[in-house]
């Protein structure tokens, strides 16, 4: 049971962080399908820091530096989307898809190059961070990590920023009616850049949390196994509102963790279902949920439409 709670909380943190990222981007008016790629790059940034910081580094420094690295790499990578979608008016779905493919391919190339340079007989795409990972754990032997607390803080911060600050309200205006926002002097382009970069920050952090969830090494060939997309479903399920996103993430996190730990429950074990059923569950549930919730979509009105100052 404890194991289930641990895994649920980890996966909830991941999904919530990434979904909040998507939420910021979409409220500014840019669809961010590329979250998956952003996660991979954020994870790569964090993993490299964990690996290359010397072993004696204090836990606090380790945690802070790797988190900052993941966030910065995530922001940098999200700029690919920002430039294409905001300045060049590219098709956001296409660019996002390209970023997902690029994320996994580039990360694999980079990690393999590093690994083969260190040891020519090791062409794998795996980074190990067994010692470094321990810094993130709050109490030894469990999976409770500082990330969960950080995720909670960021959730509250997201809520406050979106609804209680001038910046957040302006950001949302750009996603609903950019022309109107522009007419009262808000720089739509700058706001959209901010939205996408915040999604890069949160997505990158989410990637780092994901690759430290219960494992101490990551094969970058595998990307992040569709978590970026699951987060998008969480965001839609949460109807683009931080507080609901948190609840949706909790639900999805629970089902996702079931596939990791279902063998620990006699009831579930006795059902004798193949493990693939549990693997499929989060995806099936999100489909069903979406089918019932998308009818009255609360999506920002102007998302996906490039803003053109000259158009009417």
């Amino acid at each position: 049971m404890l194991l289930l709670i641990q895994y649920t909380l980890i996966f909830t943190s991941v999904l919530m962080l990434v979904a909040l990222g998507g939420c910021f981007s979409e409220h500014s008016g840019v669809i961010n399908i590329g979250l998956e790629g952003i996660m991979v790059f954020g994870a790569l940034g964090g993993a490299l820091v964990m690996r290359y910081l010397p072993a004696g580094t204090p836990a606090f420094v380790m945690v802070v530096v790797s988190i900052i690295a993941a966030m910065c790499v995530g922001i940098l990578y999200s700029l690919l989307l920002a430039v294409a979608a905001i300045n060049f008016k590219a098709d956001q779905t296409l660019v996002g898809t390209a970023m997902n493919l690029l994320g996994t391919a580039a990360a694999t190339v980079i990690v393999k190059a590093i690994n083969t340079a260190a040891d020519s007989s090791n062409p794998s795409s795996e980074i190990m961070y067994i010692e470094a990972k321990k810094s993130f754990i709050i109490s030894e032997g469990t999976e409770f990590s500082w990330f969960m607390i950080l995720a909670l803080i960021l959730l509250i911060a997201s809520y406050i920023i979106l609804y209680k600050t001038k910046f957040g309200l302006r950001l949302m205006a750009c996603g609903e009616h950019p022309q109107a926002a522009d007419s009262v002097g808000i720089n739509v382009y700058r706001m959209r850049y901010a939205g996408v970069m915040i999604s890069g920050l949160l997505g990158g952090l989410g990637g780092l949390v994901y690759i430290t969830a219960g494992v101490s090494a990551w094969k970058f060939e595998n990307g992040v196994a569709g978590f970026g997309f699951l987060a998008l479903a969480v965001m839609i399920f949460g109807s683009w509102k931080p507080q609901r996103i948190a609840l949706a993430a909790l639900l999805f996190g629970l089902f996702r963790s079931l596939s990791n730990v279902y063998t620990g429950f006699d009831l579930l074990k006795n059902l004798n279902l193949p493990s693939t059923v549990y693997n499929m569950l989060p995806y099936i549930i999100s489909l069903v949920v979406l089918a019932f919730l998308s009818k009255n979509s609360a999506a920002p009105k102007a998302e996906g439409i490039p803003y053109d100052k000259g158009s009417r």
């Binding site: 399908i33 493919l101 996994t104 391919a105 580039a106 569709g226 839609i236 995806y283 099936i284 089918a291």
Partner: protein, 371 residues
């Protein structure tokens, strides 16, 4: 003066502009790949990138060249079908990122029919098409009646179908390994006919898949641009509300489109797996890249079925060329994935490229008029 006058209209033609833009995308993609190779190890970078580009030409003997050319063609057929699937849906305003999952469903259906039920090849082929079409129409239905974004539903279905097919095919796998049985060892009747193409290219897996997929490609082109249905579908894609106002059945058209797109992707899977070129590994943890590369091929081909033939070939050419990089021990085969993904990214800028070109032509025309 005479030459510049005749050249200008040529550059103005949309087809020429698309071609130029695609070539630019390819060049930029290759440049990024080359830079990545140089950063990893500057010594062998130039020869590595030429190896990627040369693919089968690196072999000195003609029969070996033919064999590897054949292998490239075998993988081109399924990619072409996935590209068609993506571009067909895109013409109707849908982004079929689910080609990957529909491809998986097709692979599962045709391999199950071939290996477990021992059915002949055309039945397996039809089963693959049907499986892909069903999966596609689920996304179409959710989009038409429940307003679910097709990108999200497609991605969920990609994963669901991957796990389903892994379970389904674990019954017909080699007990010692993770791959399914070869079709040749179980049911030769399920192999696609070769019609002598295998001996022509010195490659036993070369089948009618290649001519068949080109036929389908032409058929789709005719369907889209010469028939009433194609006109309706394109009209729905351009403006859903206007099409509905004109009495076109928008919901029906969305579902039909996704079903056809799914069927095409399923067909593609049958082209590869019924050629016995590859077996399905039931432990695979991610959806095969074929469907995603289909997006690349569709956009690189300028969203034109005939253009997709060339872009599909090109992408498989560099992918197979890239696979050889593993043997260098320095570079990884994912370099060609990197190049492909950069190409897709650059395809996002095609609109901008065309606008810039037109603006440049306009300003030149103005200057020419004054002088």
């Amino acid at each position: 003066m005479q030459t510049s006058k005749s050249r200008e209209p040529l550059l103005r033609r949309p087809a020429v502009q698309t071609l130029l833009a695609s070539l630019l995308c390819v060049l930029l993609g290759l440049l990024v790949g080359y830079i990545a190779l140089i950063i990893i190890n500057p010594k062998g970078a130039t020869s590595a990138i030429t190896d990627v580009l040369k693919n089968f030409w690196t072999y000195s003997k003609v029969d070996k060249q033919l064999k590897h050319f054949g292998s490239t063609l075998i993988t081109t057929a399924p990619l072409l079908m996935c590209a068609l699937s993506v571009l067909f849906a895109y013409k109707v305003g849908l982004f079929n990122i689910g080609a990957a999952g529909q491809y998986v469903a097709g692979a599962g259906a045709c391999l199950y029919c071939a290996l477990a039920l021992k059915l002949p090849w055309f039945v397996c082929l039809l089963a693959a098409v049907a499986a892909g079409a069903i999966l596609g129409s689920i996304s179409g239905f959710l989009k038409a009646y429940r307003n679910v974004n097709e990108v999200i539903s497609c991605i969920m279905l990609n994963w669901i179908s991957l796990y389903l097919v892994n379970t389904l095919l674990s019954g017909v796998k080699n007990p010692t390994g993770k791959d399914t049985f070869t079709i040749a060892s179980q049911n030769t009747g399920a192999m696609l006919p070769t019609l002598g193409l295998d001996s022509l290219l010195n490659n036993k897996n070369v089948t009618i898949a290649i001519p068949l997929s080109i036929l389908v490609c032409v058929f789709i082109w005719v369907l889209l641009s010469k028939t009433r249905l194609g006109y309706e579908l394109r009209a729905t894609g351009l403006n859903k509300n206007a099409a509905k106002y004109c009495g076109m059945r928008d919901r029906y058209n969305i579902i039909l489109t996704m079903a056809i797109a799914g069927g095409l992707a399923g067909f593609g899977a049958a082209m590869l797996y019924l050629s016995d070129f590859e077996q399905w590994a039931v432990t695979q943890a991610s959806v095969p890249a074929m469907g995603f590369n289909g997006i690349a091929a569709a956009f690189l081909g300028g969203l034109n079925p005939i253009g997709a033939i060339f872009s599909s070939y090109f992408i498989q050419h560099i992918t197979r060329g890239g696979a050889a990089l593993t043997s260098t021990g320095v570079y990884s085969s994912q370099t060609s994935d990197l190049i492909t993904s950069v190409i897709i990214y650059m395809c996002g800028f095609v609109l901008f490229m065309k606008q810039t070109l037109n603006r440049w032509l306009d300003s030149r025309a103005q200057k020419g008029g004054k002088s």
